[in-house]
Amino acid sequence: MTVAIILLFLVALLLTGAPIFAGLGLASLVIMLLTEGNVNSVADTVFAKLNNEALTAIPMFAFMAHVMVRSRVVDDLYDAANAVVGHLRGGLGVATVLSCTVFAAISGSSVATALTIGSSAIPQMQRFGYRPRDAYGVIAAGGTLGILIPPSGPLILYAIVTESSIGALFLAGMLPGLLMALIFAAWCMASAWWRGDVRSARWVGLRAAGKALGRSTWALLMPPIVLGGIYLGVFTASEAAAVGCVYALAVGALAYRNFGWRDLWETAFETVRTTAMLFMILAAAAMFGHAITIIRVPAELVELVIAQGLTPLVFVLAVMAVIFVLGMFLETIAIILITTPIVFPALLELGIDPVWYGILLMVNLELALITPPVGMNLFVIKGIAQAPLAEVIRGALPYVVLMMLGLAAVLAFPPLALWLPAQAGFGR
């Protein structure tokens, strides 16, 4: 009951349009004032949350992606994918999914993925007879892979909140991410075959395809460099991010020769703004976590779960349903930071693997990115394509169903997420 009241209060506060950190922070202050009668512990809570070495991974991964985009290293990705798979039926759609998948392994953000790939893929797909809405849909959905396929900013935040291993979560996201990509690609091919009026690109020949791939070599090398180190257990996430940054800087400055001192400065400045925005929400979430612990919300949820004799599966299903609904209205980072502290003790009580739950959460948040009325990727595509929102939403709808399939798959077969980290030696 308390949980419901608090969530409603919070959602109402956020719907006033205040910055998320301010709404979340204010709700926490109100709770603290009503219970403890003071707000003396706020700074300690915030400082303890932010003073965390593992958090450096987020600004560094953001920096790395900014460098790759700014020095135009990723510009040829879509063309390369097109040269390789564009001749298949529905090939341009498949190429979009493929390039989103690769970009997702460079960037930890879904918005960046949709933005970067979308600007080259949308005009191309329309030229080949795709209905605008179909082009919007595949980019909206393909873009969401950014947060599931490592590196992923939201996965790092989840790891920080739950004190799980970032490396394990990254590896756990890989196979489900690839599965989703396969599902999207299959849908592109099936719907192209079914509609029959979209053209495919001509097969450019082995040599030309090789050449197109060659132009993207530097971008294609990035994922194995960053993720390889984590998989082999050599690097922590922030070390891998630092290595990725150095690599991106070297490629931008030396191979592409279009990344100078001015770019370095602007990239660093952009990174500060992104980081401040994200981590102020984290700071407010720390206050919120503290506030709900005072009023024993997580503990009450544990008691409720035990009293009702809920099985792990029923509990996870119920939580997923709530998050799906929240996802229609709230932004992904806020959802992670608000819901995780509430449900986490109950998850542990029920013996649910935090890594598995983290991946379920991510897939559900991918849905949040494309479910109206509030879905970040829908807005991004509306922006770059100058398209009516309704058209973008209609295009994304089939992918909502496909993502639910993906969510069901991870729910039904936990090894899909847990096998790879176990192979790499992450265990408890």
């Binding site: 506060l13 349009g17 205040a18 910055p19 700074a43 965390n52 070495e53 660093a268 400045f269």
Partner: protein, 175 residues
């Protein structure tokens, strides 16, 4: 979700205040940008020493934590002024006139209140750490009031930026 655009500066003394706070916020974020590069250099340095020369560095992890605090708090005010802080504008995007003004003021009041609470409690925290000579338990043996003061300064700047914005909105609305 939206990122609100900052308005044009108000006239008169408030305008001067606005420019001062703006310059401070920008300076903070610029310092933050330097800290980003320092953090990157720091982690890269420790990677090289650990994996190339097999001599792990003991202090970089602890320092990185303080640097994260610095990046966030130094950038928060500039982000606020540039309207980077995301919000949910599902219900409020269509608001016009006085409703819109009221909502904008409310948003900044929320931000100012949260920043104020951080400032207030950070003063207590810094004073405590300073008076009792609290040092970090890590290798650096950092006097804790130093990194904690960055939190205090950043929150103060954030609060100031929010208050100036509220004043500017109210002045602009006056007939």
């Amino acid at each position: 979700m939206s990122r609100g655009a900052p308005g044009a500066g108000p006239p008169g003394p408030l305008g001067a205040l606005d420019r001062v706070v703006g310059a401070l916020a920008f300076a903070g974020a610029a310092l933050g940008a330097v800290v980003v590069l320092v953090t990157l250099a720091c982690v890269a340095y420790s990677v090289v020493l650990r994996y190339v020369f097999a001599t792990p560095v003991t202090w970089t992890d602890e320092l990185s934590g303080y640097l994260v605090v610095a990046i966030v708090m130094l950038g928060a005010a500039e982000s606020l002024r540039r309207g980077d802080h995301i919000s949910v504008d599902l219900l409020t995007a269509g608001a016009r006139g006085r409703t819109r003004l009221g909502l904008e003021v409310w948003a900044m009041v929320c931000a100012a209140l949260v920043a104020g609470a951080i400032v207030y409690s950070a003063v207590l925290m810094v004073r405590f750490s300073y008076d009792f000579g609290i040092y970090s338990e890590g290798y650096l043996e950092m006097p804790m009031w130093i990194p904690q003061s960055v939190l205090l300064a950043g929150a103060a700047l954030l609060g100031l930026a929010a208050i100036v914005r509220v004043l500017a909105l109210l002045v602009r609305a006056r007939p």
